[in-house]
Symmetry: C2
Subunit: 217 residues, 2 copies
Amino acid sequence: MTDIDQNIPDSESSDKRLNPRQQQIFKKRQVMIVKKASRLFIKKGYSQTSMRDIANATGINLGNLYHYISGKEDILCIAFNNYHNLVMEFVIKNDILNIQEPEAKLKAVLRQSLEITYDFRNDLLMMHRETRVLPRKFLKIILKKESEFVRLFEDIITRGVESKAFKVSDPFFAANMLVFQISFYALRSWNLKQFTREEFLDMAEETILRAIIPDAM
Amino acid sequence: MTDIDQNIPDSESSDKRLNPRQQQIFKKRQVMIVKKASRLFIKKGYSQTSMRDIANATGINLGNLYHYISGKEDILCIAFNNYHNLVMEFVIKNDILNIQEPEAKLKAVLRQSLEITYDFRNDLLMMHRETRVLPRKFLKIILKKESEFVRLFEDIITRGVESKAFKVSDPFFAANMLVFQISFYALRSWNLKQFTREEFLDMAEETILRAIIPDAM
DNA sequence: AGTCAAAACAAACGTTTGTTTTATTATTAA
DNA sequence: TTAATAATAAAACAAACGTTTGTTTTGACT
């Protein structure tokens, strides 16, 4: 808890004096714990997953778990943080943000986002379900990151409206709806199994764009 | 648990021989318990709400709670069931389903659904978060009801496509996306507080329809 | 060989959980 | 009134929880 609160990003705390070799091992174990625990949270839910379950899954002794993480809540916080960092990394990379034409830029960012949320649908669903467990302080940080993500799209849409490439009555509302739609597959995959990944991505992209671009498709 | 599993709808079990007066009181208390418990689930989450919390909130003694409900899980199941019954009741009533023109019918059902999910946003959000807790058997029933709701829209869309009033490439996909979008406010209200109820409903309706009706708005 | 801190371990801590039971009081019906 | 029924409060229950403890093993450096 303390660890994450003071140092949100990735628990680069390394307070203890450790040589680089040891730090690397320490880090690797922590990553492994978060990864295995996340799988359990996905399968059984956070509350229904005990520290003993995590100990079994990681092969690390129960008491010894607490050398690598400071508590159960921390594991969830780190998982949230890892995901949001990953999304922002992927979306911002590749010079996508340097595209000038609004329509091309929107399509590029949207497609990239759709692909990520498709591939990480299980993690995303878990996070949707377990938001309530996050400490208030950390929740605020997550919501802030989320609204930055919305603003990213809001800016693109606003620019597109100015250049008459898009037609929406409220860019902020449209951006919110768009971001919501991006998580479509994660929350509704149980009823969408019949589509292949590419089929889904194409249809989702088309459907989402139709609300923004006039006579799209 | 047993109670709900054998008799899904509304636990009209009344196994015990009770006169009508007693049955009514029994029913009234049960409804009260589920309502108060749901408020707690919304505020604190299912796992973080104890039976002692529910006893305090209802004013019913802890031990005596078990005369009205057969367990904690049952309360959640009944809450899920009540909501789905309510939605179907509202959507089907008012002869909306008798409307022949696809566009008018779609608009009517959509508007009705948007209003319900707006007004019951807290319950809907809670149900999204606590789905994992449901017993498998009951979850199946809920998912079935949900896909019937999707099919309702799928049929309308299919009819509209045939009459060339609508234009979508895959009615099933479109219906799924539409139903998903209906729960927009419940899952994103934290970033949509700036809109009034009517503002939101109008914009949501417009945005959703644009993906289905050509040159809508 | 000796030192020391990190890692591993089993065991236990103190709570809290959902649920049941018991003994006592209030309410109701005949 | 009397006998059955319901409601209450309190305690008890076993199980599970997250976390801490004291001790032992390991492994690298003096």
